[in-house]
């Protein structure tokens, strides 16, 4: 446990030392701000209040920003350690591979949550500014479950990115590979869920599409099947990462 905390601390530190973290943060926060202004103007033009949380969490941020941003966070994690040779230095101490993988995962997850902080702050500020007789915006429950959904989707994405990073010692390859898988599967599942003609394909698509799940989450529906699906998929990718790191040591 001690070793794990020590590794986690180091991960967070390295993350915030790297310039790429601030570039990512700048763009993501700018997008969140833009998204919020757009959301308010939609509401001002008569969009229903129930749509507000959806626009916040399952709008363009989810569709276009996350598949780019998450691989940028995770590309460094194993690829850099391999390139520098520090993986050898780490694994010849009493560090166990699962500890290392989990530390990297949670380090990236903390940064990911930091990325979403402004959006959450906007939401809460908005609810303070609203006169109390106006029907609440945002709806507290829906807002919280939306945030939970974003974190669940994020943990799966981070696990995928981490897995890609463990396959190569080249950060660019890790980033592009991660982007291809995340964006490809996102669009593919969305196509299956909404556009495909065959009803059984549509059902399968709806089971797996993050977009569909996020619509539910931001309406305040927390479906335990979906929660378990995200957690178990993330766990599977983390397990695969452990196996890759254990086997590819040259």
């Amino acid at each position: 446990m001690n070793v794990f905390l020590c590794l986690l601390k180091k991960e967070l530190r390295t993350c915030f030392y790297s310039p790429i973290a601030y570039v990512v943060m700048f763009f993501f926060w700018a997008l969140t701000g833009g998204n919020f202004i757009w959301l308010l103007s939609q509401l001002a033009h008569g969009e229903s209040l129930t749509m507000a949380t959806q626009l916040m969490f399952s709008g363009p941020l989810l569709t276009f920003a996350l598949p780019v941003v998450v691989p940028l966070i995770t590309m460094r994690l194993f690829a850099e350690e391999k390139k520098l040779g520090t993986l050898e230095a780490l694994l010849t101490t009493s560090v166990r591979v699962p500890e290392l993988v989990l530390a990297k995962f949670f380090g990236a997850l903390v940064f990911y949550i930091v990325l979403w902080l402004p959006a959450i702050i906007y939401g809460y500020t908005q609810s303070y500014l609203c006169p109390s007789d106006v029907l609440g915006f945002p709806d507290g429950g829906a807002f919280r479950s939306g945030a939970l959904g974003v974190i669940l989707v994020g943990s799966l994405y981070i696990a995928v990115g981490l897995f890609m990073s463990s396959l190569t010692s080249n950060q660019i390859v890790a980033a592009i590979g991660g982007f291809a898988i995340l964006f490809g599967s996102f669009l593919g599942m969305m196509y299956m869920a909404y556009t495909a003609q065959n009803p059984s394909v549509r059902i399968v698509g709806q089971y797996f599409s993050s977009f569909v799940h996020m619509m539910d989450f931001s309406r305040g529906i927390v479906d335990s099947r979906i929660v378990i699906m995200y957690l178990s998929h993330a766990a599977w990718f983390l397990f695969a990462t452990v196996k890759i790191v254990e086997s590819k040591r040259v």
Binding site: R13, T86, T92
Partner: protein, 312 residues
Amino acid sequence: MIKVSGVTKKYPARLAVDNVSFEVGRGEIVGFLGPNGAGKTTTMRMLTGYLPMNFGSIEVAGYDISKQPQEVRRRIGYLPESCPLYPEMRVDEYLRFRAALKGVKATGRRAKINEVKEKCGLTDVGKRIIGQLSKGYRQRVGLADSLVHDPDLLVLDEPTVGLDPYQIRQVRELITQLAERHTILLSTHILPEVEAICERILIINEGKIVASDTEENLHKKLHASSVIEMEVKAEKNAALARVSSMEGLDVRNASELADGWLWMEIEADSASMRVELFNLAVTEGWALRELREQNHSLEDTFVQITRNKGAE
């Protein structure tokens, strides 16, 4: 301290280490030599538990590496070949991180870090960022890191590669000092380094241990006869005839030096025949100004051993 028996490591395309066995006793400094690609780094990586082996067993301080890897790792300080460090961290920060990982107790950690920093000459650079340090300092940071948990065994993979002669000397002195308290296994292909530091030499070639002995013994084994150099004031032909007529001595080479002295290279059955040569000079009335055994350099020995075995 180390007991390696029958270790084999196969890579997909080739056999990197082939049935290697050796032992290193507590407190020894052993030089691990071999041409590039001979299997030095692979052996060291298996020894430190980074790479799994295909066959054989390795014991460090009585612990089997495949059964109790954690115990083994706790007792080894390992400096990998490229001396990997995090360039964005400060020296102190890095050493604190590594000390914590290696289980140095929080209460004594600061003192321990200061101690290794002092040993490695890093006291002034604690606040510097590792990426901005020179290669020599980085090497010292790596060395300090390998020492921080007070390991019984130090495994150093080419610790002086890429350093300037002055830094090499410093690192070498440091290693010699460390030898008082630790067992050291040191790989390198800089031979004078081994001659300067190590008590015993292991030579590996094409994945096999081809020699394991002290430097002197290696020379003795390879060179049954010894070569003696002698400089006398004497007439050339007479002197050559006189020396060659003695039993067990044979003049290989001779020349008259510019200052009128005669230089001879004599092959002798043993180096102790210098006494006979001295007596000869006395009885013949030659003035004698040099009489010495020619030393074989480790380089000769090394080349000979690795070439012989390679040609077999």
